[in-house]
Symmetry: C2
Subunit: 198 residues, 2 copies
């Protein structure tokens, strides 16, 4: 094998580490990229490099952006009194696609899990508690996945914030065992509008 | 949206153009990359850039490599008298994984197709005919997919080369309607060993 084939194999191995791609689909993807190396592969490499160098977590909410503070936290158009709690950035994106929530977010970075020894300190929970205290938050909307760990986490946060602000949760429309990022925009909208005291 | 989010959206759009990835799996892949930007995203961008800049088709056989001539065509260890005909590079890779064929290859770049107006000139068929004439080829092994277009192409090539050399084809083990790149190595080995006159 010459250096070229080794480079291609290295690329396939890296591609195969992406979620949803195995060795076979990674090979297919790489061949497709090589066929379209000027119109797809080079722009993709450049876009990836740029995002790798510039993307960072917002120090306030955990969203992905390029600055210290993300565009949502920095926007004056977003209500400061309402914070929507999500497990990860994919869920924040799903909420934003529904375009129904006009407040701000807080990305936990996962859920509490006794099995995986993930406690509040491993998540962005202490930061949430200081945000509620410091930012004049009046309502926390729990938009966690309807899984056991998601609901355990929701209860924990509701207990911690009891008395500090109103705590609601997405209600109608989230199927049992379902994950937010799989829902259509209409379902998310309905669930937000029908939110209830937690 | 700040510039960062626009960059991320552009990256997601490019990723969604890969075979097997839709918008949702592209979003998941990009978030995964951002989480692992130093250990996965940067190396992947670099590997992609390098392959985009260096990969090219072998002028002889159509395989992908970095030089004008690929490593297989350049190797003195590969028999010059036998050429295995495949539709595309994925099939060549599948044959190489089986590690049973020690000759050289010829990548057609597709199959004849009346429907898509693909004739011999659109494929690497004229080049094959001159290779057989110039390289002292004694046997052509047809390893085309068992599809209607694949078999039409096989018959066309067999007719063109009648009298010039022995023409065989992979036989036993290739399922009807099956594609080479989906087969396991053992099946490919059995099919090659049981090849018959075409
Ligand atoms: Zn933020
Ligand atoms: Zn070659």
């Amino acid at each position: 094998m010459d250096a070229g084939r080794k480079d291609i194999d290295a690329l396939i191995d890296l591609m195969a580490k992406l979620p949803g791609l195995g060795p076979r689909s990674a090979r297919r993807a790489v061949l497709h990229l090589i066929k379209k190396r000027e119109r797809l592969m080079s722009p993709l490499a450049d876009a990836m490099k740029s995002v790798a160098e510039n993307a960072r977590e917002c120090v306030k909410c955990g969203n992905i952006g390029t600055g210290t503070i993300c565009d949502i936290c920095a926007s004056e158009k977003r209500a400061t009194g309402e914070i929507c709690i999500v497990e990860d950035v994919a869920d924040l994106w799903a909420m934003e696609r529904a375009a129904v929530f006009r407040g701000r977010y807080h990305v936990l970075g996962g859920t509490l899990s006794a099995l995986d020894a993930i406690g509040p300190e491993e998540l962005r929970i202490p930061l949430l508690i200081s945000r509620v205290r410091d930012e004049g938050v009046t309502e926390i909307i729990l938009a966690l996945n309807a899984t056991i760990d998601g609901q355990t986490t929701a209860h924990y946060i509701a207990d911690e914030l009891a008395g500090a602000c109103t705590v609601t949760s997405l209600a109608q429309g989230v199927p049992i065992g379902g994950e937010l990022d799989y829902l259509d925009d209409g379902t998310i909208t309905a669930a937000l509008n029908a939110r209830k005291g937690f």
